[in-house]
């Protein structure tokens, strides 16, 4: 563990030699052990204490403690401060220690994952943390990559292997990595053990898509690129095994370099409280000064004459000095305005709220068996103030599952589930899925609900057949057949996989391919097509085609692609079919599905020959190859016949659109930050109703240079301003001061008429985040209803969050599931991790975790709102009660010669012979008499029920606007407290002052104390809106305990044991037997409480808050419901969106045509055993001779080691 912490000078370049631990140790590279924990046993105490005393409050109490140790000024025992202070420090320390313990535990868990390391020529099981730079490790299918590896060789031909990078960048499609040719031959362990190549490469950095280095081996140099690297956090897929050389380990890996630093998170209430504590301290000093001046004057005027009966202390020689001392005494006696119990109670309340989150059954995901978890207990009330949510896409909004959902074949739409009456029904459990049992090769996991499509296939509809034939031929999927009928597809993108699987289930089973052929099982009959060309996908073309020759010898081009592109290239023969299909496309797009248009074209032999000739020439052309190819592709993909369209559902997590709609209604802005490509992201934006067709405009920012980006942003802003001016509200954004308070800004921005959305991609974002443009970007983005950032790196995610955090002064929440979200989760005020999935990095970095995105609405709208409400009510009341309590002493100061005499039962004695009993009232007041009722309120209070919180998302707004506890509310509480203290002092004063039988100090103190406890108890009763049995118990119990303790403290027995401590003996019985005392207490209570009731009632009557209205009436209900329905319907109307959801990079076309990724087995199967190069034979030899372990089917894959 200690090794992890070592600090080294920055690296210039990295040299790693394989299988040479001693050599590599010279460089002292970080080991593969990661450390997210903050302390260890030795550093815990000093570091933790140092952190804790950074809190203003703790320092304040320490200062008070020091004051109390000075005998001359100590008006309270040091005991009253040190006990709670130590308690607070201990509780916090224990909590920190527990948190850190869990961090240690999860670190250990990750560090102790097993991996197979090649040591001394043998494969050994080693823990991750013992993996060193320069080791060669073996990975198996579905395992997490343990460190950043240089891929050496793999089970697949040509050293290829497939990885999933969802953890790293959120992209769902599979990526291919290839070992450099020299190492790809090292397939067996003996060779690997002898491998002693040396890698020289760049130092560790956080660029996920860049790597440059050189491999020196056997006096040769081989350049290395990112294409040869396997990064930590990726998962090996569809490859049985591979070997890699560890280049970066542990904290040096790109993944860890991308996860920002852990920051100490504080809520805004915490920060406010720190400010308030400082203010109160200022106030305290003011009171102290007033009273000290009073004391000086009094001692000079009165006290000096009174010296006969009360001579000054030996050390005190002047009125001035006496005043000086009394200042400090008053600072101590009045310090209860900010009692330590405030901090203890706040922590207890937060802990309670955290438990409620952990216990919430409605946030328990049954499928993944994961309950919600509050991983930090200090942020709860901030959940009620969130204004911005930054969400990851893959795995958070979506399930990362593509489902073939609907299709339109020659003007007929399939896929809608119809109920008995022929109406469209929602997809659900109501109907049985189509039965595919006729097809032995069908994928059992595939579900389709519309039986009419299967019927059409069976009836032999030629269009339907051609449709599925296209799907089974036009793709770059690789198949694998472990045993007869057990097919596995390796698709580069899940969309393609879904389409080919659909075709498979409907009887057009793609069986195998060779570089020159594709074999398809068409309704049970094996047909082998000759593959003539793959016109591969790229970002510009947005389509792919294959040209195949059927066994009958007919040459046909099959094409699938984005509707916008393909519909232009159709043969104009059937306009009505085009129209119908377009309608269907609109409908699918309206449902948020990703659509593709399918078309075919028959090619004549002669034409094809000529074209192929040109293609061949173009492909060997020394320059302009890409352009020439593109032109040729363009030429052939014309005048195609429309076959139909497919609609794929990128399966959203449950309830995502509803959650987003609800959160939007709650005035929370949702930004999606994803590493995925723009099309996919926009599509998801639509399907989860963030983007709607009702939006005035969706701005796309895709500029590559600073100027372009600036221009695009400016245009977007101008458009918004134009429309705003058109509305005529004269709003001018340019003049808006950027320092406008967070609460003011949204109001202005709402003035922008219409709804806008902004989509920005990674390279533009890089420019937009530069210092001189970030404010422009932020302004523009914040004026939009929805913002989608695509192709962003993990660090950019964090930067975006940081930007909003810095300039908007709003509470931000980041939610994500993968390692690529860690930095964002750490940066945001609140980080939420989606748990229950494979990766746990995000969860480990998060403050809250649960299994489903939709739980977010409950976390924010119910738990967050309640927490905020409770905390605010708690703080208001707490400051009220302590001001009421403390200010009584202040008033008494004016009547007791400013002598720092308290006017409540504690007897104040010089320090020398202090005992704890002296201050029992002060101590007990905060700990026993008044703490439990307000704690109960802080933990249990509810203004409206949870159902209502969800029904009326507007109820969330007070939190965002910080309305329930801010400086204004604080002053109101204080004013109320001071008002109460005035009455609580001066009414008994009026009664005791003159002409009464009772005039003694002790009776007065008991009267004031009793009325104080009763008044604050009545007040808490008034504040408590939700009286559970616990509240009843605490409120009544506190009163009972007060009287019990009062009588006990004034009892004979205690006095006889400690006569100097319990001087109030007999006081309670005698004082409380007086009717006058009770009349005084009653009057005090009435005049303290009645105005509060009057104000509250008037406020309720004249300016009710929404929560009041919800609590008191049911009127608004219908209105809000209607609004809801509105939201749900939005986005049905159609624009077409094509989700050409392939990779953003070149497809696998070339790879397939070259046959590089073909297994020998599949080649042998094919009847066209075309060119069998030496390398294939070598592969065969390798497979037989190698000691590759029994491969496991990729579908039922080995689960990676995880906790």
């Amino acid at each position: 563990m200690e090794l992890c912490a070592k600090k080294l000078p920055p690296e210039e370049e990295r040299r790693v030699r394989a299988n040479a631990r001693e050599y590599n140790e010279k460089f002292q590279y970080a080991s593969n052990c990661i450390k997210t924990s903050k302390y260890n046993i030795v550093t815990f105490l000093p570091v933790n204490l140092f952190e804790q005393f950074q809190e203003v409050a703790n320092t304040y109490f320490l200062f008070l403690l020091i004051l109390q140790l000075i005998p001359q000024i100590s008006s309270l025992s040091w005991f009253t401060t040190i006990v709670p202070l130590v308690l607070v420090l201990t509780i916090t320390a224990v909590k920190d220690a527990t948190d850190d313990y869990f961090r240690h535990k999860s670190d250990n868990q990750v560090n102790n994952r097993q991996s197979q390391v090649l040591i001394n020529g043998r494969l050994q099981q080693e823990q991750w943390m013992n993996v060193r730079v320069g080791d060669i490790i073996k990975l198996e299918n579905n395992q997490f990559v343990a460190a950043d590896l240089l891929l050496l060789c793999s089970s697949e031909p040509h050293g290829l292997c497939y990885i999933e990078t969802a953890e790293l960048d959120g992209e769902t499609n599979m990526k291919v990595r290839q070992a450099i040719p020299v190492t790809s031959q090292l397939g067996d362990i003996r060779k690997l053990a002898r491998f002693d190549g040396e890698v020289v490469c760049e130092p560790p950095n956080n660029k996920l898509d860049k790597f440059s280095g050189t491999l020196y081996w056997k006096e040769n140099k081989y350049p290395l690129s990112n294409q040869n690297m396997l990064l930590r956090g990726c998962v090996l897929r569809n490859s049985e095994w591979c070997f890699g050389l560890v280049v970066f380990a542990g904290p040096d890996t790109k993944l860890m370099q991308n996860s920002g630093r852990t920051k100490f998170k504080r809520t805004s209430i915490d920060r406010l409280m720190n400010t308030l504590v400082l203010w109160i301290f200022g106030f305290l000093v003011c009171m102290g000064v007033i009273l000290a001046i009073g004391n000086g004057i009094w001692e000079y005027e009165v006290g000096a004459c009174f010296q006969m009966y009360l001579p000054w202390d030996v050390a005190v020689d002047s009125a001035f000095f006496s005043g000086f001392l009394s200042f400090w005494s008053y600072i101590i006696i009045l310090n209860t305005v900010v009692p330590i119990s405030l901090y203890v109670s706040v922590e207890v309340i937060r802990l309670g709220h955290s438990y409620f989150i952990n216990w919430d059954k409605k946030m328990y995901c049954a499928q993944r068996q994961t309950p919600a978890e509050a991983r930090t207990t200090t942020l709860n009330e901030e959940l009620g103030q969130v204004e911005y949510i930054f969400s990851d896409k893959t795995g958070t909004l979506t399930q990362n599952i593509m489902v073939f959902c609907k299709c339109s074949i020659s003007g007929h739409s399939y896929g809608d589930v119809l109920d008995v009456l022929g109406h469209k029904a929602e997809l659900g459990e109501r109907t049985e899925p189509v039965d595919f049992s006729f097809n032995p090769l069908a994928d059992p996991r595939f579900r389709f609900w519309d039986p009419s499509l299967l019927q059409a296939v069976r009836l032999g509809d030629p269009h339907v057949h051609e449709f599925f034939r296209l799907l089974s031929l036009c793709h770059t999927v690789m198949s694998e057949e472990k045993s007869e009928g057990e097919l596995y597809y390796k698709a580069q993108s899940p969309d393609e996989g879904a389409l080919v699987t659909a075709a498979r289930n409907f009887g057009f089973v793609f069986r195998s391919r060779t570089p020159k052929t594709i074999t398809v099982q068409e309704l049970g009959r094996a047909v082998t097509y000759q593959l003539l060309a793959i016109l591969d996908f790229n970002n510009v073309r947005k389509r792919m085609s294959v040209i195949v020759r059927s066994p009958e010898g007919r040459i046909r081009l099959y094409c699938k692609g984005a509707d916008t592109i393909l519909l232009e290239r159709l043969h104009p023969a059937h306009p009505e079919l085009l129209n119908v299909t377009t309608d269907h496309l609109n409908e699918y797009a309206g449902d948020g599905l990703r659509t593709l248009v399918l078309a075919y074209k028959d090619l004549e032999e002669g034409y094809y020959e000529g074209w192929a000739e040109q293609l061949l020439r173009a492909s060997v052309a020394p320059e302009g190859r890409e352009d020439r190819l593109a032109r040729l592709y363009e030429e052939v993909e014309q005048d195609m016949m429309l076959l139909g369209a497919t609609a794929i559902e990128d399966k959203l997590q449950q309830g995502v659109p509803e959650t987003i709609a609800l959160l939007t209604l709650a005035n929370i802005k949702i930004w999606v930050l994803t590493g995925d490509k723009q099309e996919t992201a926009v599509n998801i934006g639509y399907s989860c109703k963030m983007l709607t067709d009702d939006m005035t405009e969706v701005f796309l920012v895709t500029g590559h240079t600073v100027l372009e980006v600036r221009e695009e942003l400016r245009k977007a802003r101008e458009k918004m301003l134009d429309s705003a001016r058109a509305v005529g509200n004269g709003f001018c954004q340019e003049k808006l001061p950027l320092s406008a308070p967070a609460s003011g800004l949204p109001a202005v921005l709402e003035a922008v008429a219409g709804e806008y959305a902004l989509v920005i991609n990674g390279h533009s974002l890089a420019h937009a985040l530069e210092a001189d443009m970030e404010l422009e970007f932020l302004e523009t983005a914040c004026a939009c209803k929805a913002v989608i950032c695509c192709r962003v790196t993990p660090l950019q995610k964090a930067q975006v969050v940081e930007l909003v955090k810095k300039h908007k002064k709003a509470v931000t929440l980041a939610i994500g599931d993968g390692a690529n979200d860690v930095s964002m989760i750490k940066t945001a005020h609140i980080g939420v991790g989606i748990s229950g999935q494979e990766g746990i990095q995000a969860v480990l970095a998060s403050d809250y975790s649960f299994a489903q995105f939709r739980f977010l609405q409950r976390l924010l709208l119910v738990h967050g709102r309640w927490s905020y409400l409770r905390m605010c009510k708690f703080l208001c009341y707490f400051f009220y009660k302590n001001f009421a309590f403390t200010m009584v002493h202040f008033w008494f100061g004016f009547f007791c010669g400013f002598s720092a005499q308290g006017c409540l039962p504690p007897r104040l004695t010089p320090l020398s012979r202090q005992t704890v009993y002296d201050q029992y009232f002060i101590t007990l007041y905060n700990i026993v008499y008044t703490s439990l009722p307000v704690l109960a309120m802080g933990v249990f209070d509810q203004d409206v029920t949870e159902q209502r919180s969800m029904e009326y998302p507007k109820l969330y707004e007070p939190g965002q606007l910080n309305l329930l506890f801010n400086k204004r509310e604080f002053f109101i509480c204080i004013a109320q407290g001071i008002y109460a203290s005035v009455l609580m002092f001066f009414i008994p004063y009026g009664v005791f002052a003159d002409g009464a039988q009772l005039a003694d100090y002790q009776s007065f103190a008991v009267t004031v104390a009793t009325s104080l406890v009763i008044v604050v108890s009545v007040q808490i009763g008034l504040d408590t809106g939700f009286w559970t049995a616990i509240n009843h118990f605490f409120i009544w119990g506190s009163l009972a305990v007060y009287f019990a303790i009062l009588f006990a403290m004034h009892s004979d027995g205690l006095f006889q044991m400690f006569p100097n401590q319990f001087r109030f003996v007999g006081n309670a019985q005698n004082t409380l037997a007086q009717p006058t005392v009770w009349l005084t207490i009653t009057l005090t209570t009435v005049v303290c409480i009645v105005p509060v009731v009057a104000f509250r009632f008037l406020k309720l009557d004249l300016k009710p808050e929404l929560s009041d209205t919800v609590r008191y009436t049911q009127l608004v209900r219908k209105k809000q419901r209607a609004q809801h329905r509105c939201m749900r319907r939005v986005g049905r109307a159609g624009s077409r969106r094509s989700g050409y959801a392939f990779s953003h990079q070149e497809g696998f076309g070339e790879l397939i045509m070259s046959g590089k990724n073909m297994r020998l087995s599949s080649l042998a199967l094919s009847s066209f055993a075309a060119r069998s190069s030496a390398s294939w034979i070598e592969t065969l030899r390798k497979k037989k001779g190698g000691d590759s372990p029994a491969s496991s089917p990729s579908g039922g894959g080995d689960k990676p080691l995880k906790g």
């Binding site: 328990y364 009026g990 009645v1090």
Partner: protein
């Protein structure tokens, strides 16, 4: 069915949270609401109650008979004498005459009243030893009694501390002029003026075969004329630390102006019904100087009622608050009704 299965599957999972009302925050609860009817009715009830109590209090306070005689001016010469501490052993008597216009029926209480005497000063309040007053043998040096703990020669004071030292030690006798020449002493009770708990629990004489031996080895406080065991030589039960005058004095007052009970009228002979109207004289042995600290001394004769003394404050406060609350009730009712009318207007004419 499926749902049920799901549910039971959920229940069986140990990670699934309990569905107890407490954990799901669904405890049954009373949700009080500030409705117009409850608020207004409570306002009127409370207001009327306060008014009623206030009037009763005022009436009862008005029924108190009280007479207050300031003798700081009358006894100017005595107070001059006392200003110089060298005259501490010289006796000085003075007389304060007053006339009762009407009979003062009932129990009569006699108080001394001091003004500007800060019995509530922190250092003063502290300066006592309750253990000593409980008759325990304590180390006075080590108590809070400073600077009135011991004499320079080490003899402890009994009782020690500033409070005890400054005890009010004027002796007052009341004479009633049956006619213009004959005066008879009004019988006054010296004991029963303090709380039972003080007299029987809080204060105890040190135990010894007699009182003076119990106080052996101690000395009287510097301002006292006589030691504690001579405070009331006639009554063993009122001597030493359990002397009522001492006990009353030791119960420090809340404010700088206060009255302490001094004597009660013994209702015997012609005073059986209280004090008859007529001329009276206070015969004061002046020991307690107040001029140094600009204090004043009064003697008060007063009857009492259930609500205490003649202080009108509570009665007036109750009456005023009651009136204000009732008034506020009307104002709130008016606002509420107006508001409701408006609301219904909007409901009738939605935009």
């Amino acid at each position: 069915m499926k749902n049920k299965d799901n549910q039971s599957a959920q229940e069986s999972n140990p990670r699934c949270p309990d569905s107890s009302a407490f954990k799901q925050q669904k405890l049954p609860a009373w949700k009080p609401k500030l409705t117009a009817s409850t608020v207004l009715s409570s306002f009127f009830v409370i207001g009327l109650f306060c008014l009623l109590v206030g009037i009763c209090l005022i009436l009862s306070a008005r029924s108190v008979n009280e007479i207050q005689i300031d003798y700081s001016d009358v006894c100017l010469n005595c107070s001059k004498l006392r200003e110089s501490s060298s005259n501490w052993d010289k006796e000085c008597n003075c007389f304060a005459h007053f006339t009762l216009q009407e009979n003062m029926p009932g129990d009569i209480f006699m108080y001394y009243r001091l003004q500007n005497f800060y019995q509530n000063h922190r250092r003063y309040v502290l300066s006592r030893s309750d253990a000593q007053l409980l008759g325990q043998d304590v180390n006075i040096q080590n108590s809070y009694c400073a600077p009135f703990a011991t004499y320079p020669n080490g003899t402890p004071m009994a009782p020690c501390g500033a409070i005890a030292n400054s005890m009010f030690n004027d002796t007052v006798q009341l004479f009633y002029y049956v006619n213009s020449s004959t005066a008879i002493q009004v019988p006054l009770l010296k004991n029963g003026n303090s709380w039972w708990s003080d007299k029987n629990v809080k204060f105890r004489n040190p135990t010894s075969y007699n009182l003076s031996s119990a106080f052996a080895g101690t000395a009287r406080p510097p301002y006292w004329q006589k030691p504690a065991y001579l405070l009331d030589e006639k009554d063993e039960r009122n001597n030493g630390y359990i002397n009522d005058d001492l006990i009353v004095w030791m119960r420090v007052s809340a404010f700088a102006t206060f009255r302490n009970l001094y004597r009660r009228l013994s209702r015997t002979n012609q005073f059986a019904d209280g004090l008859p109207a007529g001329n009276y004289t206070f015969h004061i042995t002046y020991n307690f100087p107040v001029t140094k600290f600009q204090g004043k001394k009064q003697l008060v004769l007063s009857t009492i009622t259930w609500s205490g003394g003649s202080n009108l404050f509570l009665g007036i406060a109750y009456t005023v608050s009651g009136a204000v609350i009732v008034l506020a009730g009307f104002v709130i009712a008016a606002i509420h009704l107006k508001r409701r009318k408006k609301k219904t207007y909007f409901q009738r004419h939605p935009k």
